[in-house]
């Protein structure tokens, strides 16, 4: 398990990628930490159950379980928020009107193809909006640990887990490093821990290039 400080490190690094005024859909887990680390940048959070302009968690007295996030947690509405139904919400998502989707992943292949909804042999019968977000968001950032709980690299040459769609992620931000995906494959662009490039090579199952690596520790 990742420590809370490592989770926060990932969230902070994702937050750096986001630009003032962007429309962002946050997946479950680490992405939900991001709003705390925006340092004044104003984002518009989209929630696939029908809201643009998700605000912070309400006080207990103000909870309305008919004003919830896609994770089914009580939320509030930001200034300028709007409400719509599920079909219109996915017009927004699938139609390319969400600037950035920040997703978790089970695996990511060397070109950025994502597996984030099912594990072979396990009965995970849920896909939710994951495939729509993968197909539709303008930019896709994966926020995830580099390795799964069993220690295996999530970055893989070829997906063993079922794909979430042909559309590839743009960035993978982990506790150790940031990778960029292009038509040539995986590129290491940043190191975020005291790990060495050699150690990274040992840890993950994908060949990666690097040019100018920023090292941030």
């Amino acid at each position: 398990m990742l420590s809370q400080s490592e989770r926060i490190k990932i969230a902070k690094r994702v937050a750096e990628e986001l630009k003032e005024g962007q429309i962002v859909n946050l997946g479950v887990g680490i992405p939900t930490l991001i709003p705390d680390y925006l340092e004044g940048k104003k984002l518009f959070l989209q929630s696939e159950n029908g809201l643009l302009g998700m605000g912070p968690t309400p006080d207990k007295e103000n909870v309305n379980m008919d004003l919830i996030s896609a994770s089914k947690k009580p939320i509030t509405m930001d200034t300028g928020a709007s409400l719509f139904d599920s079909s219109d919400s996915f017009v927004m998502i699938r139609g390319g009107h969400v600037d950035v989707a920040i997703l978790g992943a089970l695996q990511v292949d060397r070109y950025g193809e994502i597996a984030n909804w099912a594990v072979p042999g396990k009965t995970i019968l849920g896909v939710g909006g994951a495939m729509d977000l993968v197909a539709g968001a303008k930019q896709i950032i994966i926020a995830s640990t580099l390795c799964a709980k069993d220690g295996k690299s999530k970055l893989v040459e070829k997906l063993h887990f079922p794909s979430s769609g042909k559309r590839r992620a743009d960035l993978l931000i982990t506790e150790h490093a940031v990778f960029k995906f292009t038509n040539e494959g995986t590129e290491l662009i940043e190191i975020l821990s005291d790990i060495s490039i050699e150690q990274l090579r040992d840890m993950i199952d994908v060949e990666f290039k690097y040019n100018d690596i920023k090292i941030i520790t």
Binding site: G50, L51, M65, D66, L67, S87, S89, G126, G129
Partner: protein, 228 residues
Amino acid sequence: MEKLINTSKALDLINNGDTLLVGGFGLSGTPLTMLDEIANSEKHDLTVVSNNLGETGKGLGKLLLSGNLKKAVGSYFTTNRDAVQAWSDGELQIELIPQGTLAEAVRCGGAGIGGFYTKTAVGTKLAEGKEEKVIDGKTYILEKAIKGDISLIKALKADTIGNLVYDHTARNFNAVMASAGKVVIAEVDEIVEAGELHPLEIVTPHAYVDYIVLNKYVKKGGAYVESV
């Protein structure tokens, strides 16, 4: 008011083997009273089209426990362990559809559209057996429209002619589910006079609503916790 009926009369509209389109996301915007009515009935072999199957023993989860269901079509069953278990045991058929595809397929069912080509799920297991088509250089898969015999939806208020408004994100799937059922039953907290809802405020026009029933649950601490 003609459209207002009691829940037992509403139950009579449902036949064994029917396909029910049920609104809601998690437990928000779920017609809890009508679901209780079904769970307490002998209705069987029902197919439910809904984003999820409620939670264990709540909402649609009750129908699973009381044996009313044959099949569930939705996008997310993971949060109800009973559903996953029933599927593993071969007691429940499950058809998994991406959330946006589900919403659009039901909208098409209510719109006189037979199917649509979506970019979602292209190249995935959920696209297996589905027709692929390249349109203007991009690959899409064909998804067929979904229709139902009965729509069970939940709104905040109806007016006396059947116009509906929803509570914040409880709108979710309710508006599309209202369009695609042969018979549409809206469960509401309150009925107001026609004219009290502003034309710009109405989300579901009365054209889509056949019957109205009153919600027997009361909201406490922001959630519908108990039936009165």
